[in-house]
């Protein structure tokens, strides 16, 4: 008996280790490069998809007879506080979810066991993509939640910068810190040569394209050109009509720089009923001339008589075509960034020349020689809106450019104008943040938005 007890006591450490049960389908460590890539894939897959919402808030669309059937979209179109608050809460959580995945991955990359040079190279690519994707998320968040870029705004609140997965209660960093963080992330992402991968991975070209966008945002026009121009050599091939058509199929298209892969349905929220039509249609400002390659894909004759329905993914939904790629970064986008930088940097001829390369490929009338100044910038942005209509970038441009957003009612008359300095250009910090984070106090809510904490 006593022996038994002694024996049992001696057994305890052994018992302890027999409880180290490895779960068959759950892992606590990221040990191989493949696993790192798969965790990164989850981050890619979690990228927020609010193209419909951003497009509705921009001036790409106008209401149809069905708009009132979707209170959510109609309220968003009218920039109603509640609708923006709800969207803001979703956006914030989704972007930070992706950031959480990336932080998890980045802090575990050093544990990954590599065998041989190929493994090491692949691991570096994973690291580069993770950094770039994080910069991409921060950049979007900054443009949504912080004031527009201006020297006097740099000390104002930007976004929360988070470097690890663990639970944190962090304050908002200044815009200046956020910008230098994005800069640093892009710099280290660019230090790795990452080409030849599938278009749904954030390769070197995507890093350069994002750099161009980012530099344009902060007015570094020279840097926009130096980052973007190399991507545009021989871009005419990429702008071929066949490549453009392929953008709206599950086929490959050389026009894509970064296009997240998708298995689910995409862009179905604009549609009210396939037999009846859409909640919103193309705005009267977005007009395509005949012969414009983009016309065939941006306008769509849906079931609504006399209404220019939005095409692209929306048409794919009508036609039951599967969406596999969300065409996020494109060579044409780089073209607009570089052209705008030239125009703003007093190099109008370079700007016009570059734009005309693009316009010719799209089958459009070229810009007039000698166009310059604001008129040139406006023309470039007009073409940019036509290229990216319904995809969301216009929303960010409106804020960056300080263009008032005009709202119409169903009859077509103007119902409201969201001014340049309207408080709604900065989305509200969500309630979950100021209710549960002691570092987000009333002073850190964006101006004009409520800060209600029930104590």
């Amino acid at each position: 008996m006593r022996k038994n007890i002694i024996f049992l006591l001696c057994m305890l450490p052994a018992l302890n280790s027999c409880l180290d049960i490895k779960l068959e389908n759950q892992f606590t460590e990221i040990t191989t490069v493949d696993m790192a890539r798969e965790l990164l894939a989850a981050a890619y897959n979690s990228l927020p998809r609010y193209q419909v919402e951003f497009a509705v808030m921009s001036d790409d669309f106008k209401p149809t007879n069905f708009s009132s059937a979707s209170a959510e979209l109609e309220n968003l179109y009218n920039w109603q506080d509640n609708a923006i608050t709800n969207l803001s809460s979703l956006l914030w959580t989704d972007y930070y979810m992706t950031v959480a995945y990336l932080n998890t991955l980045l802090t575990r990359l050093d544990e990954v066991v590599t065998e041989g040079g190929e493994d090491i190279a692949e691991l570096e690519k994973v690291r580069s993509e993770a950094l770039a994707l994080k910069a991409y998320c921060y950049f979007d968040l900054l443009r949504i939640y912080a004031p527009r870029y201006a020297e006097e705004n740099l000390d104002k609140d930007g976004i929360i910068l988070k470097d690890r997965l663990e639970l944190d209660f962090l304050p908002r960093s200044s815009m200046r810190d956020c910008i230098s963080e994005i800069d640093a992330l892009l710099t280290s992402a660019a230090s790795v040569e990452n080409t030849g991968n599938a278009v749904y991975y954030f390769g070197s070209d995507a890093v350069a394209a994002l750099r161009a966008e980012f530099e344009l945002y902060r007015g570094n026009y020279g840097a926009v050109v130096s980052a973007g121009l190399p991507l545009l050599s021989g871009a005419e091939d990429r702008w071929a009509t066949a490549e453009y058509d392929n953008l709206w199929t599950a086929n490959e298209s050389r026009e894509r720089i970064f296009a997240p892969y998708i298995f689910d349905s995409f862009y179905i929220d604009l549609n009210y009923d396939r037999e009846r039509g859409d909640y919103f249609c193309l705005s009267d400002e977005v007009i395509y001339e005949d012969g414009d390659v983009r016309k065939g894909w941006c306008e769509y004759q849906g079931p609504q008589e006399g209404v220019r329905c939005f095409g692209k993914y929306n048409r794919m939904y009508y036609e039951n075509t599967e969406v596999r790629y969300i065409n996020t970064l494109r060579y044409s986008g780089v073209c607009f960034a570089v052209a705008e930088a030239y125009a703003r940097d007093n190099q109008p001829d370079e700007a016009v020349a570059l734009m005309n390369r693009y316009l010719e490929a799209r089958g459009c009338m070229p810009l007039e020689e000698g166009l310059s100044g604001d008129a040139l910038v406006e023309a470039i942005l007009g073409e940019k809106q036509k290229e990216f209509v319904g995809e969301g970038p216009r929303f960010f441009d409106l804020k960056r450019m300080g263009v008032p957003v005009v709202r119409y009612d169903r009859s077509g008359s103007q119902s409201a104008v969201i001014g340049v300095d309207d408080y709604r250009h900065l989305f509200p910090i969500p309630q979950s943040e100021y209710r549960y984070n002691e570092n987000i106090t009333a002073g850190h809510q964006n101006p004009g938005w409520s800060y209600e904490v029930v104590e």
Binding site: L167, Q431, Y436
Partner: protein
């Protein structure tokens, strides 16, 4: 080699049985009852000095014992908790033994093997253990064992949650965690020493059960360690007896009925009138009305003709007046067949049974059928102990037509009285006929259970017991969900014809393996009685789940029909979950009794679990208890027949509902992909400082008896849970919105009392009454992060607040419907009135009542006259409220569905309508925000109810009648038995228990016949 040995002894055992059967010996038959004449099941009856000749009583207290061929035979009868009796055998054929309760239970000798080896006598002297009256449980004609358990023990609260075949909520003394749900709050189920899942418990055959004990306090539970923080339900199965083989056939058959009609719906006349008033052009009552026709045809020449046509249409509709409650719900049947054989000799005893049960639910397509079997064998090993083996298995199948998307039961409240099964396209469901509503969905779930237990009980030296039990329990649950391509939802899905029809099939294997080895030493030195013990146990739980969901099956209800070529969001998907956890424990106990009067008991158990990382793995459960038997001071003073005090204190760590991914970063693959890569997902925002919950229980109780006629048990308890876990919201800049954290301290405290009285005790007539009541209240004692906790970023009232109960339903006070606007108005804290669209503040919200009823209890009545027995059980619950759904009150938009009777009378239609209950139907939900977001003083109702849960009238065939069959039949009885006969409640919607319009417990009426031969 061992196997061969086993086979030989098995064979030998059977030979022994057959030999003894030939060698007819003297047999004594009889019955063991308590002082209230309640039969005692499982009482031990044996020949003193010759434990080989022994048996135990059956479920009705009957026994028959073989006697040795010698003189001066003394027969001893013992039963746990009763004074043992010794009867001299003088050649009687039959005896009735009346047992008296004994608070000092040292005499409870064990003569057969015991598999529940944690069931130590010493445990019950200071612990709180309620023995369920299994006989009453068996009298309830109900197919679900766990639902039948409702009302069998004070403090054990069982709440039905839906359809027949749905697992009920089972709680001992409330939720011990802030977290809701079974994983964190369900008690531990132990069958013959083997841990089983609650799903396995649900499928047990009540007739195979000899005894169920409900362990409530720390002292009773601590022997099970950290698994037992929510209490334990200990089940002992029926074992063999000594004596001639007794075959019993038990048959129950009857009908199940529709049950209580919760909400009376409109008849055709009222419905058409409502439609006319609501003016929805998709309802016949409006479009055939005179006003509509006039409006649509201004200046038409034939207007009178058109109006007459409309009237004719309405008159046509008035010819139909369907009562959809009767039409859709059905009476079905119930049946149960049970065949068992038990017997044995002095060395070996056996028991085998087979059971088939069927119960039809209220809605066609909902039923449960079950087949179970059980074999057990006890074999004496020389004079030092026993080996016991048991094997049990079962198959059960539950069908349901209710899916999360579509529930045919809800059609009772939607289809119009002027519609019928054959009336073609329905007004209530445009473009659909009655047939389009049915055959939309089919779900079959089956459960295959297998369990085996082997145990050994040895007494190698006097006073030393060595017991071991090892067991395996497996439940294979399978389910198949099928939505045919012809179902309306599929038709409307927009998917191509070949992609329609959804099938989902899942298989889940839950395996429990456990062992427990216990050494107990007991010795008496004069007035001192000392017990020491130690044990080690192991418990492994393995969940292996595999499921597949696919489309394009058309009308074939088979996974093989899935179209695997489909891409996109109807692509076939598989999922797999495999989680294995294990726990090892080591424990020690000590007990001391002085002079049979004072008892002290202490136990300590350390458990290590694989769930937590190595450094936090070991957690403890310990308890101390004391008992004082005051009666021993005045043994001969009869007015007080029993008086005993008990008190205990204990502390248990709990890992209930904690999984490894909550404590360390854990990744798993999703069934989606990104490009050519799988997705490796981070499962949760882990908490590396996660600690187990600690449950601290304090308990005090007294048992008192008067003249052996009236007995009373009163107990008070307080259970504090420290480091209570909850998924709390975190700032969403963390990517995740919630995280499981140790957030505070909560308590459950309450009082349980049971009173049992013999009101009438004459020769042939007895009347006993038992009354029990349990009160539980919960409170948040502390929150580590401030005084309030909101589980949602939008909630107005904190979900948890220090000093407050956490099941309170808050809402504003309603001022009723404003006669001018027709909108509800509410009272603000300052007394002013605000409209339904106004902004409510925290202080405007008042506590409307408890969501969980704090009081529950039973009233049991037993009346015996000669061979007649009458039993009735009432179950009651009070003190809680439930919100009404009001989903059957219609406004303009859903005027095409049937509405509650009286809505025309009680709804606001025009300015000046006074004292209405329902708001204006002409409105948008946005203007009713306060009405839809929060319950208010007029949209909740008391959920009190009183239910006649069991009624049984039994006639036992007298012996002389049975003798006429040439003693072919040994015992027999016939009975009328019914369950859930009626429910009295003030709650205005269907079911105060489940709070849903569907899924009330249904009445079952049966006739039962039991014959033993």
């Amino acid at each position: 080699m061992k196997l061969v040995h086993f086979a030989v002894s098995f064979l030998a055992a059977f030979l022994a049985i057959s030999v003894s059967a030939q060698n007819t010996q003297r047999v004594l038959a009889g019955r063991v009852v308590d002082v209230w004449d309640e039969p005692l099941a499982g009482a031990n009856v044996f020949v003193r000095g010759d434990t080989g000749f022994g048996t135990s009583t059956d479920g009705n207290g009957y026994f028959s014992i073989e006697l040795p061929q010698r003189q001066d035979i003394l027969i001893e009868v013992s039963f746990l908790g009763m004074k043992s009796q010794t009867i001299a055998y003088t050649g009687q054929k039959e005896i009735t033994v009346i047992m008296e309760e004994d608070s000092n239970m040292m005499d409870g000798a064990v003569v057969t093997g015991k598999q529940n080896i944690n069931d130590l006598d010493i445990r019950s002297k200071s612990g709180v253990i309620t023995v369920v009256d299994v006989k009453r449980l068996q009298d309830k004609p109900m197919v679900d064992m766990s639902v039948a358990l409702q009302g069998t023990a004070p403090g054990l609260v069982v709440t039905n949650r839906g359809d027949l075949g749905t697992k009920p909520e089972i709680r001992i003394r409330g939720n011990s965690s802030f977290r809701e749900g079974d994983a964190a709050n369900e008690p531990l189920f132990v069958l013959d020493g083997q841990v089983i899942s609650s799903d396995a418990f649900m499928t047990l055959n009540p007739l195979d059960i000899a005894d169920i004990k409900v362990l409530k306090d720390a002292v009773a539970c601590a022997l099970y360690g950290t698994k037992a923080s929510n209490g334990v339900i200990e089940i002992t199965s029926v074992r063999g007896t000594t004596g001639e083989a007794l075959v019993t056939y038990n048959f129950n058959a009857g009908v199940t009925t529709r049950g209580r009609r919760g909400v009376l719906m409109m008849d055709t006349d009222e419905k058409l009138e409502l439609e006319r008033r609501l003016r929805n052009p998709s309802t016949p009552g409006y479009i055939y009305s005179e006003e509509y026709i006039r409006e649509q045809n201004p200046g038409a020449a034939n207007i009178d003709e058109l109006i007459a046509e409309g009237q004719a249409k309405l008159n046509e509709l008035r010819k139909t007046n369907t009562d959809w409650f009767k039409e859709l719900l059905r009476n079905d049947f119930y049946q149960r067949h049970n065949l068992s054989v038990r017997g044995g000799n002095s060395k070996t005893s056996y028991y085998a049974s087979a059971n088939y049960s069927y119960q039809g639910g209220q809605i066609p397509g909902n039923d449960v059928s079950r087949f179970t079997g059980r074999i057990s064998l006890d074999q004496a090993i020389g004079n030092i102990g026993y080996v016991s083996l048991s094997v049990n298995g079962g198959y059960s199948k539950a069908d349901s037509p209710n899916s999360s998307e579509f529930s045919p039961t809800s059609l009772i409240y939607e289809l119009n009285p002027y519609e019928s099964k054959t009336s073609g396209e329905l007004w209530s469901y445009p473009n659909r006929t009655y047939d389009d509503l049915f055959y939309q969905y089919e779900k079959v779930s089956t459960e295959k259970r297998f369990g085996t237990t082997a145990s050994i009980n040895l007494t190698p030296l006097k006073g030393l017991d060595v017991d071991a039990v090892v067991g395996l329990d497996m439940v294979l649950s399978e389910s198949q969900d099928f939505t045919p391509s012809t179902a309306y939802s599929e038709q409307q899905s927009g998917a191509d014809e070949i992609e329609r029809g959804r099938l989902s099939k899942a298989k889940n294997v839950n395996t429990n393996v456990s062992y427990n080895i216990r050494v107990t030493w007991n010795r008496t030195f004069g007035k001192h009685d000392v017990t020491l013990g130690a044990n080690t146990d192991y418990y492994m739980d393995d969940i292996d789940n595999m499921s597949i969901t696919g489309y394009g099956v058309g009308l074939l209800n088979s996974a093989a029909a899935i179209n695997q070529s489909i891409e996109g969001n109807r692509k076939v998907s598989t999922s797999n979950l495999k989680e294995k956890t294990a726990q090892i424990g080591i424990g020690a106990l000590a007990g001391y009794t002085f002079d049979g009067t004072y008892d002290l008991f202490g136990t300590y158990k350390a458990d290590a679990s694989s769930i937590l990382p190595k450094d936090k793995r070991w957690n403890a459960a310990w308890a101390v208890g004391a008992g004082w038997n005051v009666k021993s001071y005045f043994k001969d003073w009869n007015p007080i027949s029993a008086l005993r005090f008990k008190a205990s204190y204990g502390r248990t760590a709990s890992l209930a509902g904690v999984s490894p991914s909550l404590a360390v970063a854990t990744f798993q693959y999703l069934d989606d992909s990104y490009g050519d890569r799988r997705l490796l997902e981070l499962m949760a925002l882990y908490n590396d400082s996660l600690k187990p919950e600690q449950t601290i229980s304090t308990e005090a109780g007294v048992s008192i008896g008067f003249w052996n006629r009236l007995s009373m048990d009163i107990g008070w308890y307080n259970r504090v849970t420290e480091d209570a876990l909850l998924d709390v919201p975190v700032p969403s800049s963390n990517g995740f919105t919630s995280m499981r954290r140790n957030i505070g301290v909560l308590s459950n405290s309450g009082i349980e009392a049971a009173l049992s009285a013999t009101l009438l005790d004459m020769d042939e007539t007895r009347l006993n009454l038992r009354f029990s009541i349990a009160y539980n209240r919960n409170k948040v004692l502390d929150l580590y992060d401030g005084d309030r906790l909101y589980t949602s970023e939008y909630s107005l009232v904190p979900d948890f607040e220090v000093g407050k109960a956490y099941d309170i339903i808050y809402g504003p006070i309603s001022n009723g419907i404003d006669p001018m606007t027709g909108f509800p108005t509410f009272r603000k804290a300052d007394g002013s009135e605000i409209p339904a669209s106004g902004k409510l503040e925290r202080e405007d919200m008042v506590a409307l009542g408890h969501g969980v009823p704090p009081y529950s209890g039973t009233i049991n009545l037993s009346f015996t006259y000669r061979n007649f027995e009458f039993d009735a059980d009432f179950y009651y619950v009070f003190g809680g409220i439930k919100a009404y759904a009001f989903s059957y009150v219609r406004d303009v938009d859903d005027a095409n569905k049937n509405a509650v009777r009286g809505q025309v009378e009680n709804m606001w239609f025009k300015k000046g309508d006074q004292d209405k209950i329902y708001n204006s139907p002409y409105t948008e939900t946005a203007s009713l925000e306060n009405l839809t977001l929060y319950p208010n003083s007029r949209t909740v109702g008391s959920s009190d109810y009183l239910r006649l849960s069991m009624l049984s009238v039994r006639y036992r065939f007298p012996q002389r009648l049975l003798q006429k069959t040439g003693n072919f039949f040994k015992y027999g009885n016939i009975a009328f038995q019914a369950s859930n006969l009626f429910t009295l409640t003030r709650y205005k919607e269907s079911d105060p228990e489940s709070g849903s319009l569907v899924g009330a417990q249904q009445p079952v009426y049966t006739v039962s016949l039991s014959l033993s031969f």
